[in-house]
């Protein structure tokens, strides 16, 4: 099957000598929901810039759904929808015009463009704002407008660069639902984000990029399986004894009702529950102390290159 995105030996050195990409190889399969993670300045936006033609590559090959961008970039672009990190629409234009114009840039006749605009205004909850100038929209609405604009020509591959930055929780959740829906309908999605829980919640596969190199490229399940230690917080009924201990486990009582327990790979959490139960302590609820993916992310970035 032809990959939705195939990157081979991609390099980028800017005019000032800064080497942003040092030979990236990446393959994203059709239908995937893929996360591209990395700290600031790692090379994520440069990679997206090259795919979208806004940045010229120094070396390497990029293909979008089998179309080499060096051979036929216009055709490759028809398969692509880009939601950049920064707002890049004319803030003095009306929401509706931004969408219909974008459809026109892809050669979609006006009647069809208006129909598509209607559809995406509705899907992204912007119908009431159709006649509003873009500068009057809230931050979340501007993000949704950019998603609608990126989808107006029905691309096979949607790339979102930090789409939920500055978006409130409620709107973020509705955006997640929408992205899951279009992914289920067949659109391949690549997401860059700083919210690691976002990648964990949405994506099946991920790559971590650091200093212009891919550090890892695996399924999120595989990555999480490799975690050696997880820390849980247990909320307990009744008052806890500060000297509480369970042999073989690293326990710390944080307050009268909360105990923190670290589980090494291979250990069974049920043993902790059993030990607590034996001491007449019942666990009311349980949660991760920190995002597991975040821990993995930090571990990977700390590895020597």
């Amino acid at each position: 099957m032809t990959a939705a995105l195939k990157i081979e030996g991609l390099e980028k050195t800017y005019d000032n000598g800064f080497v942003a990409l040092k030979g990236i190889d990446l393959t994203v399969e059709p239908g995937d929901f893929f996360a591209l993670l990395g700290p600031n300045g790692a090379g994520k936006s440069t990679t997206i810039g090259i795919i979208s033609s806004l940045v010229a590559k120094s070396a390497g090959k990029v293909s979008v759904h089998g179309v080499d961008i060096d051979q036929n970039f216009p055709l490759a672009k028809t398969h692509l929808g880009i939601v950049p990190q920064e707002f890049n629409f004319n803030v003095f234009e009306k929401v509706e015009d931004i969408l219909t114009n974008q459809a026109g840039y892809y050669g979609i006749p006006r009647i069809d463009a208006l129909r598509r605009t209607e559809h995406f205004l509705d899907r992204l909850g912007l119908t009431e704002k159709r006649d509003t100038r873009a500068r009057m929209l809230s931050g979340g609405m501007k993000r949704r407008l950019m998603i609608a604009r990126a989808l107006i020509h029905s691309p096979k591959l949607l790339i979102l660069d930090e789409p939920t930055a500055g978006v409130d929780i409620e709107m973020r959740r509705s955006m997640y639902d929408f992205l899951r829906e279009i992914n289920a309908a067949g659109t391949t999605i690549i997401l860059t984000t700083h919210y690691l829980e976002e990648a964990e919640a949405l994506c099946r596969n991920m790559a971590i990029i650091n200093n212009g190199k891919i550090v890892t490229n695996r399924s999120i399940k595989d990555l999480l399986r490799d975690l050696h230690k997880e820390v849980f917080l247990l909320d307990c009924a009744g008052s806890l004894d500060l000297g509480l201990e369970v042999p073989g486990f690293e326990l710390e009582v944080l307050d009268d009702h909360t105990v923190q327990v670290a589980i090494e790979k291979g250990q069974d959490l049920a043993e902790v529950f059993a030990a607590l139960h034996a001491k007449q302590i019942s666990v009311v609820s349980m949660r991760n102390e920190a995002n597991r993916l975040e821990q993995m992310f930090v571990n990977l970035l700390e590895q020597p290159a």
Binding site: Y14, D15, G49, S52, S53, L54, V55, A56, F73, P74, L75, K77, T78, L80, I82, P84, E86, F87, N88, F89, N90, V91, D97, T100, N101, Q102, G104, Y105, Y106, G107, I108, P109, R110, R149
Partner: protein
């Protein structure tokens, strides 16, 4: 993109451009009408009545074609430079750059927008001039040809300015310090015959001389320069400016990193 899709993309840019300048008509259309009316009153009526005839026509009749051409030059240039630099400034130019539109379609779209504003202002200014004088037309075809070529040329020059501009100051420097002096010295208000030989020869290097003279010939049938040569020069400038603009878009100079 096939030819029909390219046509749709072209019309989308043109429609967007026209809506832009119509939306802000008080900044784009009205100033020329007011400025030219003042020129007609002051230079044409008040001062012109004391100047007498020029090239066999009243001064008002002589100056009107030059003023119409001045309006076309400044408006077609201003439209493209402001619109394209604005798109660069707010990054909305990326909407076009990430799309599959061929560079020549983008260029033609912006130029068509500039030409349409130049022509619309020309119609407004011409209509205003009719309150002050009669307006003979010696060669309608030549008038249409010169107006269209001039509007295309200065739209292209505005595009080049916009590509190289980094700040809003950069898009006003050329009109203020280059375009306006060249226009004023390009025979809008006087016949080159009035100049001493040396300055008349120097004026031949001013491209605005050919534009104004060719248009005035189309209107009045009098000229300071050889018309075939003038048309040839304008055409040559259009080809050169178009080629260079297209090169800038294709290579992404100042647009891509």
């Amino acid at each position: 993109m096939n030819h029909y899709e390219q046509y749709v993309a072209f019309m989308t840019i043109v429609r967007k451009e026209i809506r832009r300048y119509l939306r802000i008509w008080s900044q784009t259309l009205l100033p020329s009408a007011i400025t030219m009316s003042l020129y007609y009153v002051i230079f044409g009526n008040l001062i012109g009545s004391r100047i007498g005839t020029m090239g066999g026509f009243s001064y008002m009749e002589f100056v009107v074609p030059g003023l119409i051409m001045m309006a076309i030059v400044t408006n077609s240039y201003a439209n493209v430079v402001a619109s394209f630099f604005g798109a660069k400034f707010n990054n909305s130019v990326e909407e076009l750059l990430v799309s599959p539109i061929p560079p020549y379609v983008i260029l033609c779209g912006y130029v068509a927008g500039g030409v349409s504003r130049g022509l619309l202002v020309a119609i407004i200014v011409t209509a205003v001039s009719l309150f002050f004088t009669r307006l003979p037309i010696y060669s309608p075809l030549l008038v249409i040809l010169v107006v269209t070529l001039t509007a295309i040329l200065f739209s292209l020059l505005g595009f080049i300015n916009a590509v190289f501009a980094n700040t809003f100051d950069d898009i006003s420097i050329v009109p203020t310090f280059v375009l306006t002096p060249l226009t004023y010295l390009g025979g809008v208000f006087y016949s080159l015959d009035l100049l001493p030989d040396f300055w008349a020869t120097v004026s031949q290097a001013n491209p605005l001389v050919y534009v104004v003279s060719a248009f005035r010939f189309g209107m009045l049938g009098v000229t300071d320069v050889n018309i075939s040569f003038a048309i040839g020069m304008i055409l040559l400038c259009v080809i050169a400016a178009f080629s260079y603009s297209l090169h800038l878009l294709r290579t992404g100079k100042r647009l891509r990193t």
